[in-house]
Symmetry: C2
């Protein structure tokens, strides 16, 4: 098909370093175009090499500044670095807020750095199925590492963060403390903790709280104990140590077989999300409306209604 040929040529251009070709492929993914299938099928064999680093934390902890500092550190090693920033969509912006991206402009003229914001279009299923495809496109185009930056404030965002091989959770003093982060469920996703804005008075208290919670928490990481790195991202302080710790985690993933296990678990999540998306299409909308009306009236219980919706 002409479309398939076009997508394949686009992929070749993206591999050769054409940022516009890459941007168009990512737009296909973000728009959930039917063409995504053939694009992903084509590029699958060239994927799996890139290291995926997740960076998450509550609004205001300094994720964008940290991402920018990490990009600079990886660029110093001559890596081609991609940043995928996942923003919840909002009616006020029609998608990604650009304000936070301003700090990234330092890298805007560097053609070995690619930065992309992805919005969720208001449904979580979309991000769950499209983010892995966006990562594959960047991977196939030769970017390594790929930094996935998310506003990590809820379980859905934690799920997105877990698309990464290594997840760094950012905290900062005064931005809602570590206990609030625990409530939001983001601590359990962490392979590394970063206490940013470490020059602020309460930073050491955040570190102490974290230590306590790590000690109390269940281990889901085998023999990996999440380190705590303190940083002042705006000044570049602590970034070298963060990169070293990320490198250590990457080595640990490879030597223990955890990388393979983790990527398989991710594929399982992805397949489940894709299967659900396919099934969603099978639910007849008109029947749903009728049954929902009866449930809203109180004349039918929701479980029977769901049974009827699925044709028993």
């Amino acid at each position: 098909m002409a479309d398939d040929t076009a997508a394949s040529a686009e992929l070749d251009r993206a591999r050769a370093g054409d940022p516009r070709a890459l941007a168009r492929l990512l737009s296909l993914v973000e728009d959930e175009s039917p063409r995504v299938r053939s694009v992903i099928k084509d590029l699958m064999p060239g994927t799996g090499g890139a290291r995926i680093i997740g960076l998450t934390g509550a609004p205001g902890v300094g994720k964008s500044t940290m991402t920018s500092a990490l990009v600079a550190a990886f660029r110093a090693d001559r890596a081609r670095v991609a940043v995928l920033a996942i923003d919840p969509s909002s009616p006020f912006t029609g998608g990604a807020l650009l304000g936070d991206r301003i700090r990234m402009q330092a890298h805007a003229i560097d053609d070995r750095v690619f930065i992309r914001s992805m919005a969720s279009r208001g449904h979580l299923g979309g991000l769950a199925t499209s983010t892995p495809q966006a990562i594959r496109v960047l991977d196939a185009a030769g970017f390594d590492p790929i930094i996935v930056e998310t506003v990590g404030v809820g379980q859905a965002e934690v799920a997105i963060a877990s698309l990464a091989d290594s997840v760094a959770v950012l905290l900062a003093p005064g931005m809602g403390d570590a206990i609030q982060a625990a409530k939001a469920g983001i601590l359990e996703a962490a392979d590394l903790f970063v206490v940013n804005k470490a020059d602020k008075p309460d930073a050491q208290q955040v570190v102490r709280d974290l230590r306590t919670m790590i000690a109390l928490g269940e281990r889901r990481h085998g023999d990996w104990k999440p380190p705590i790195v303190t940083t002042v991202a705006v000044k570049g302080d602590g970034i070298d140590e963060l990169v070293s710790r990320l490198d250590e985690h990457w080595s640990w993933l490879a030597t223990t077989g955890e990388l393979k296990r983790r990527r398989q678990a991710r594929a399982r999540e992805e397949l489940t999300a894709l299967a659900f998306a396919a099934l969603r299409g099978r639910l007849a909308a008109s029947r749903l409306d009728e049954l929902a009306g009866r449930v809203a009236d109180g004349t039918l219980d929701p479980f029977e209604a769901a049974d009827e919706l699925l044709g028993r």
Copy 2:
């Protein structure tokens, strides 16, 4: 069946005001017991009367204090008030954090106030299907209003907030500003805005930012313009105005037909979630592992894998 008879008797006791019977019914719901089906079927005809108020906002804005103040205000009108506090689960707590509930102890000996924390057990699907049942149990037991309090920091939490007839979004100065709230996607869920901690210096700036964003935002609320109420919940300041605004919204919902429309939309969401939960059970785990392994290896693309998982 004996189980059904027991559940029915439990419901009678809950209706008569026995808090332990009510707690047991809610435990069935939270544990996703198979008995929930018959309980809900029994109580469906007695539901739909209660007004459901959603209260959401980022960690630290003062939701628990506000909930407590609202409970006191509604109790002054001799209402039977229930609070359903939805907490993300955490490995550090095994479920709901109790710390925030301490402020609610003022109501602990009032038998016309019922307070329940529900944890999500680590999966969003569980909350999406169990929260509506918990609300039905409280509704059938005669509580009105029912306040659903959630940590509103991501889209999943917004989805939970939208289980309510009226959603109040709390903000506070210095807790991540209104723009960050917009990023997290919670502003669009709001029927009312509450700027709490209004005695703090930056409160008026939050109000101004909100006004700007409301003016810029799309209207999903028909001719309802979300009001902004300023409060100092710990002192009780502004609570009377908040209650008045909630009452206005409730009247608006009833007179415009929006209440019916909104409840039908909610039933649609619930049915979809229940249908997905049923379908999840049909996906064979062993087949999923095998296909996920091939996707992780790069030897199969995820879309073909999903097709195979569903048996084409």
